[in-house]
């Protein structure tokens, strides 16, 4: 192979993290991680959601501080109190979420906080414009410095983020899911920029859920699982199946017992749904999706972020409009109804962002859980506190919220119990179909199990469940059927009993080669030819 053998001697290492541990409250996000970033190489972090990749990157970029452990930069121990400390030392992170001011120009964003000054102390626009133009030439983007960021497509905004990082003359560049918003061409350009950068001595840390893309670009692979570093390998020694197997490990299997279900009639029927993209006018986030959910069935939509999953659920719930297509609940078209009317007819959504969309932080546990069903228990104008208490008690018992009292503040509960309150709130409306968007986001393992057990129990009573997840284990253990979405479309559908990790994960990825392969065979254990040649090309550059 063209790859050099890994050299363990110091001059090759730009960053060495020793025994990094990070705790949030009682939860270990990282345990004893030893980690090396090599000069002028691309190091990719692999791992499922919650494996600890982002936490490590936040520590390396100064966003968070480790509970214990040390970081050495060029052999000298350093500590970052804030992101600007890290930037001063040449470590820059490009976050997955864009951190741009949409009301400012591309130039102003790129130099925000580090404005070039003239002799009199005003901003030196000429110098800034020149640098921006050079950067844009390098990135092969036709964006003028004066363009407002809000006028750019999401992909172009991502390019601006990258340009911003480049302008800071980073020695270490951390990229968290840099390609999620990019088109195929833009991804190609990005990879070229990455190889230019590494050639000039910049070290790249790369995080991506697109395994094939990551394999394409990387020199070293580091795999995380459950907050620990499991393996470090050179590119030459690894392939896609190795990564998937190492990432997933032998995860504990199901808490879920809806594997021999009896289904009723189709309750929710989505036909050819098209949903507009909220961030880019004129584009669609969901294109022609059709799904049937039967009573008693638990259907999972698996896919990467940005696959249109959230938009689909929000359109079903009535928050977003449908451009075309229809939604039928028990045979009647509900596409024109308001959120309220849909809930009354039995379609309820448990939203993705619990804090933003799920809870009213100023209200108590009890008032939160009864919020959606108040109209039903109020008799005319009068809201009987006894009727409400019965309702609240029923809700709390049904989803087993652990709270000192229904009067307790909702913010005093743990994430898992808060999520149970949100689910209980919607269950109290007696839904026929429950939609859940990432129902286990940010909650501990025990609560995850409880929530899926609860859903299975409700399904046995005839509830149709449609939930979205980006955790493969959840998809495989908590559903009867898996629908894989990518870029707004359904790419594959599995009966959970017949699906394998590799198939589902490959189907959600962006690689056409993998897709067509896995469509033919159920055992796609070889890296595609295209990939290895791409890698060879990449290796030659280095």
């Amino acid at each position: 192979m063209t790859m050099n053998t890994p050299q363990m001697n110091a001059p090759d290492e730009i960053i060495r993290a020793r025994n990094i541990t990070k705790r949030y409250g009682g939860v270990h996000a990282l345990t004893g991680v030893d980690f090396v970033i090599r000069r002028g190489k691309v190091t990719t972090l692999f791992g499922e959601n919650g494996a600890g990749k982002s936490t490590l990157m936040k520590i390396l970029s100064g966003v968070e501080q480790p509970t214990s452990g040390s970081i050495e930069l060029d052999g000298v121990e350093v500590a970052f109190a804030s992101p600007s400390d890290a930037v001063d030392l040449g470590i820059t992170i490009i976050h997955q979420e864009l951190n741009l001011a949409p009301n400012l120009s591309v130039r102003d964003n790129i130099f925000l906080g580090r404005e070039a000054k003239t002799a009199t102390g005003t901003i030196d626009y000429t110098a800034e414009n020149q640098i921006v133009e050079e950067l844009m030439t390098q990135l092969e983007e036709d964006i003028t410095p004066d363009t407002l960021v809000s006028d750019l497509r999401l992909g172009q905004q991502q390019i601006v983020e990258i340009a911003k990082a480049l302008a800071s003359n980073a020695r270490v560049l951390i990229m968290d899911e840099p390609t999620s918003a990019l088109s195929a061409t833009e991804v190609g350009v990005l990879f070229k920029v990455i190889s230019d950068l590494t050639a000039s001595g910049v070290s790249i840390v790369y995080i991506s859920h697109h395994l094939e893309e990551a394999l394409h670009v990387t020199d070293y692979a580091v795999v995380f699982r459950d907050g620990s570093l499991i393996a470090t390998e050179v590119r030459a020694n690894i392939d896609l199946p190795w990564i998937i197997n190492t990432m997933v490990g032998h995860a504990p299997e199901p808490v879920f017992d809806n594997h021999t279900p009896t289904y009723g009639d189709v309750t929710l029927s989505i036909r050819n749904a098209h949903v507009p993209d909220q961030s880019t006018p004129g584009r669609l986030s969901v294109e022609g999706v059709s799904i049937d959910v039967r009573a008693g069935e638990v259907v999972c939509i698996y896919g990467l972020m940005g696959a249109g999953r959230t938009e689909l659920l929000e359109a079903l719930a009535g928050r977003l409009p449908l451009v075309s297509g229809s939604v039928e609940l028990e045979g009647t078209d509900i596409s024109d109804l308001s959120i309220r009317e849909r809930i009354e007819r039995g379609l309820a959504l448990v939203p993705e962002d619990r804090q933003r969309d799920g809870l009213v932080q100023l209200l108590s546990v009890g008032h939160n859980i009864s919020l959606a069903s108040l109209g039903a228990i109020a008799k005319g104008f009068w809201l009987s506190s006894r009727a409400e208490k019965r309702n609240v008690d029923r809700g709390i018992a049904e989803v087993r919220v652990k709270t000192s009292s229904p009067r307790a503040s909702i913010t005093s509960l743990s994430g898992g119990n808060q999520q149970k309150v949100v689910i209980g709130k919607m269950l109290l409306t007696n839904p026929h179909v429950l939609l859940l968007d990432e129902p286990t986001r940010g909650i501990d393992v025990g609560a995850k199990g409880e929530i899926f057990a609860l859903l299975a129990a409700e399904a046995r009573k005839g509830l149709g469940v449609l939930f979205v997840t980006s955790e493969i284990t959840e998809a495989l253990t908590a559903s009867n059927r898996i629908i894989v979405m990518s870029r707004g479309k359904i790419v594959r559908e599995f009966l959970t009993a017949e699906a394998t990790r590799e198939e589902v994960m490959s189907a959600s990825g962006e690689s056409d080669a993998i897709d067509s392969d896995s469509a033919d065979s159920h055992h796609n254990n070889r890296p595609s030819h295209e990939l290895s040649s791409a890698h060879r090309k990449n290796g030659a550059v280095l």
Partner: protein
């Protein structure tokens, strides 16, 4: 950063403490302070009464207390309507103008409504006059609500516009003049209007009775009806409320209608007290109402506040203002002192919120699964 950063690659964790960390203090001290803070508006009221009764013998007399309470009542009625709007996260700048407009409407009707085409002058009965005036006030609020929900004009701007429009309308109707002598005449069958402001059943002015009734009804609505809960929920987190099926737009329109209704009642009381209706009546009353609401512990961001607090807030402002007059402080100083007290009250309120947070954090810690000494807690864990 927001919680959306949790999506990827983060270890499942307990949600970040909803609120910012701040220096720990001994628990006992916090409790004492918190108690003091909780009742600070009431304490302020008591302090004001004590100080002014020491400064003037006339302050703490039954007659003066009744007079002051009558002044307070007008502001309190406006403040209760304003509280509804502020609980919703909005603001209503038009209530002062609505006070003037509704008074003028009553004035026009009692003076006789001429219909030139038929060559007659209508003298509606007093109850019709009152009803018309209340309807106009509610309608003003309805228009505010529609502008805000349907046309998505920011509440501040929509009601600022209405402030001018309603005032202008009042001036147009009267041509800038004042309607005097609204007591009516027996032969026209429209007497009794002056009773609203001047009657005093059981020795307590009518305005105070009206305030008590409105406060009781409002407290009932906020505490015992679905509408009340919806109001708190949509003010606290409109997105979550909407996804829970709360008719957030309907709620929003209603609160502005309530504010307009309350303003009309205040307008009727004032014009009845004076038995005349001037188009300038109620100028800048909206600011006093807002002051009473925030003094009473409501959050301008919505979702937090109650009737009891608002009433106390209105009393603090009213008793302070009248006290300053009685002891003869110059009117310029009165304004300075009033302004300072309002700002201080809100600053204390913020302090109280922080204290609560600290308490929640220090209280929460031991109940969690043993947290080791957190020397390196994330200093930047973002609030929600």
């Amino acid at each position: 950063m927001s919680t959306s950063t949790l999506t990827h690659g983060q270890r499942p964790r307990v949600d970040p403490p909803a609120l910012q960390q701040s220096p720990n203090k001994p628990a006992g001290k916090i409790d004492f302070l918190a108690l003091l803070m909780e009742g600070r508006a009431l304490i302020a009221l008591i302090v004001i009464i004590i100080i002014f009764s020491l400064l003037s013998d006339n302050y703490l007399t039954l007659s003066n207390l009744l007079v002051m309470t009558r002044h307070v009542a007008l502001n309190a009625i406006l403040a209760i309507g304003m509280l509804m709007v502020i609980l919703n996260g909005g603001i209503d700048l038009s209530v002062g103008s609505t006070v003037g407009l509704s008074g003028v409407i009553a004035g026009v009707l009692l003076q006789g409504l001429g219909i030139p085409a038929l060559d007659i002058i209508l003298y509606p009965a007093v109850w019709v006059v009152i009803a018309c005036s209340l309807i106009i006030g509610t309608l003003v609020g309805f228009i505010n609500g529609i502008l805000i929900t349907k046309f998505r004009v920011a509440p501040f701007v929509a009601t600022l516009g209405m402030l001018y429009v309603a005032r202008g309308a009042a001036l147009l109707i009267t041509d800038g003049r004042t309607f005097p002598k609204l007591q009516g005449s027996p032969e026209l069958g429209n007497t009794g209007f002056n009773l609203i402001g001047n009657a005093a059943p059981l020795g307590v002015p009518m305005a105070v009775w009206v305030m008590l009734v409105i406060a009781a009804v409002a407290a009932f609505v906020l505490g015992k009806t679905a509408f009340g809960r919806w109001l708190y929920a949509s003010g606290g987190n409109e997105r979550a409320a909407e996804l829970s099926g709360v008719p957030v737009k309907k709620v929003r329109v209603r609160v502005y209608m309530i504010a307009g209704f309350c303003a009309a009642i205040a307008g009727l009381i004032i014009s009845s007290e004076l038995t005349s209706a001037a188009p300038q009546t109620g100028d800048s009353y909206e600011l006093n109402a807002i002051a009473a609401v925030v003094m009473g512990g409501a959050a301008l961001s919505g979702g937090r506040g109650n009737i009891r607090g608002t009433l106390i807030g209105a009393f603090v402002i009213g008793f302070l203002a009248d006290g300053l007059v009685i002891v003869g402080v110059s009117s310029y100083w009165q304004m300075v002192i009033k302004g300072a007290v309002i700002v201080m009250a809100v600053a204390l309120d913020q302090l109280q919120q922080r204290l609560k947070t600290n308490k929640a954090l220090t209280y929460k810690a031991p109940t969690k699964q043993k947290i080791p000494p957190t020397d390196r807690e994330p200093a930047s864990s973002s609030p929600q």
